[in-house]
């Protein structure tokens, strides 16, 4: 093979390798879930955040995984766990929980903490502890836990045998759900990670793999800007 041919082959190989790297990086960047901003309210310093947890997100590369949808200002649902919030604001959260539940691995997470008044309203009733044994066997489905802000909100599950059980997200209010509302304050600028403390990664070791370890499902960030 001539020198020119060898140089040409080398260049082509290099270009192919570069193309593969660009493709992989672009693919990774494109796969990052979107960031959804909380919706401003008519009250200054207050924003609204509407979320839902589904037993199966029904979309994307892992439709059977448990995960979150966040509603944007136009009412559209986005499968993500990246949420943008304004600094020094009060966040009014409405959380629709559509998944079935069970016991907590550590019952300490049944206490509501870090919200305004350390309470949450479960189907309209103020609670400061969500007892996994008092929900007619439906237990706790998930917890919304932000360690950096000291927030922990457990959510009652719904019966998996309910006739209108939601099998794939995004679910709608005509399907079996628990409504949880609470408020919390954001502080200064920061990126606060959040997670669920119910090991809900079905089929993974200790239930903590899969959706529990992937941004966009049961792990995410509150981006306070």
């Amino acid at each position: 093979m001539s020198k020119g041919a060898r140089a040409g082959a080398l260049l082509v190989s290099f270009a192919a390798l570069l193309g593969l790297i660009v493709f992989a990086v672009a693919g990774y960047l494109r796969s990052t879930p979107p960031t959804v901003s909380a919706t401003p309210s008519s009250t200054p310093g207050v924003v609204n955040l509407v979320m839902q947890t589904d037993g199966a997100v029904g979309v994307g590369p892992h439709p059977s995984w448990v995960g979150y949808f966040i509603q944007d200002a136009n009412g559209a649902w986005h499968q993500t766990t990246l949420i943008q919030l304004p600094t020094h604001s009060t966040v009014h959260v409405t959380l629709y929980e559509y998944d079935s539940g069970g016991n907590l691995r550590n019952t300490v997470w049944s206490k509501i903490q870090g919200t305004v008044g350390n309470i949450a309203y479960v189907n309209g009733v103020a609670e400061n502890i969500v007892n996994p044994n008092s929900n007619t066997g439906n237990g706790i489905a998930h917890t919304f836990n932000v360690p950096g802000l000291g927030i922990n909100v457990p959510m009652y599950g719904v019966s998996s045998t309910a006739k209108n059980f939601c099998n794939a997200g995004p679910c709608n209010l005509s399907e079996a759900h628990t409504t949880i509302t609470f408020q919390f304050h954001t502080g200064g600028v920061g990126s606060y990670r959040w997670q669920c403390f119910v090991p809900c990664g079905l089929g993974y070791v200790d239930g903590n793999g899969g959706p529990m370890q992937n941004i966009g499902y049961m792990a995410g960030f509150l981006k306070v800007v």
């Binding site: 550590n106 019952t107 206490k111 044994n133 360690p147 997670q195 079905l202 089929g203």
Partner: protein, 304 residues
């Protein structure tokens, strides 16, 4: 170690003269270096003095750092001296035969004796100080060989879970907290366990480090002796939030601790009722989602 005897014809001074110079410079710089390490750097060496165990670790590091100075300086000085003194100078033939090299049994023997004594001495020293402060803050398994002399010990259970540490207090009604406050001048027994994978409870400032294994109680001791803030980190890779699995703790006065513990006991009374009975380990499940709940006698997913 090679030992060098110079070809007198190429040397301006005798071997003894060079050796004397090296030894004098080495002795002076070593004394200065050791003093600087011991007195200036020493008090700032990690992990501090918040507990007996941390102070012991700091003393060990301080001593080893000080003793390493003369060894390090001798090696550096010898190389530096050789480069400066025996380099080829302008006008000299770089290809001319160099100094003859021959063995020197006295130098070799001295080197072996000094380094062996140093290493064995430090090993004996380290072993002794591992025993004296009750395990030196390291984990001792579920049946510790070395225990503190006193029986007045505060029990703190460290429960690791992907991806937080929580703390349980059997002497305060079995309450469980997400924060860690410790009283000063108190002997503490950490009972470390996990609800899922292997974590590691590393309270660096306390000089305490213990793996958190599921189904296992790993015990470490520490005696607090200084108030302040310390950080607790997980030191076993445990998943996506491993890097975020940390929290801060405080050593406070005994009165402040009693107030904190009483308040927490009252605030958590309703929650404590929901907790399982205090146990040294809690059996998680290995069979998947949500399962193997905290402290259940049987695995609800065993037959799945």
């Amino acid at each position: 170690m090679a030992n060098f005897v110079l070809d007198e014809s190429r040397s301006e001074e005798s071997t003894k003269g060079h050796l004397t110079k090296i030894l004098v410079i080495w002795a002076i710089t070593s004394v200065i270096g050791m003093a600087l390490v011991w007195f200036v750097l020493g008090p700032h060496l990690p992990p501090g003095t918040m507990t007996d165990q941390a102070q012991g670790a700091q003393f060990d590091i301080r001593l080893v750092s000080t003793l390493v100075v003369p060894v390090l300086f001798f090696v550096w000085l010898f190389f530096g001296y050789s480069i400066m003194k025996w380099r080829v100078r302008p006008g000299e033939d770089p290809l001319a035969p160099g100094a003859n090299i021959s063995g020197n049994s006295k130098a070799q023997g001295a080197w072996y004796i000094i380094t062996t004594t140093l290493v064995l001495g430090l090993a004996a020293f380290g072993t002794y100080f591992l025993v004296v402060p009750a395990g030196a803050g390291g984990a001792e398994g579920s049946s510790p060989i070395w225990r503190p002399a006193t029986k007045n010990i505060l029990q703190v259970q460290v429960i690791a879970q992907q991806w937080r540490f929580t703390y349980r207090w059997p002497q305060f009604g079995g309450m469980e907290t997400t924060s860690l406050e410790l009283p000063n001048n108190t002997e503490i027994q950490f009972n470390v366990t996990s609800l899922d994978v292997i974590h590691d409870f590393w309270a660096y400032g306390l000089g305490v480090k213990a793996d958190a294994n599921p189904d296992y109680n790993n015990i470490a001791y520490a005696k607090t002796q200084q108030t302040g803030k310390f950080v607790v980190r997980c030191d076993e890779l445990c998943g996506i939030w491993h890097g975020a699995m940390y929290n801060y703790g405080h050593v406070v006065s005994q009165a402040q601790f009693q107030t904190w513990a009483s308040n927490m006991e009252t605030q958590n009374a309703a929650l404590t009722k929901l907790l399982p009975k205090y146990s040294l380990t809690y059996t998680p499940s290995y069979s998947g989602a949500g399962g193997g709940y905290y402290n259940t006698a049987t695995d609800p997913n065993a037959n799945l």
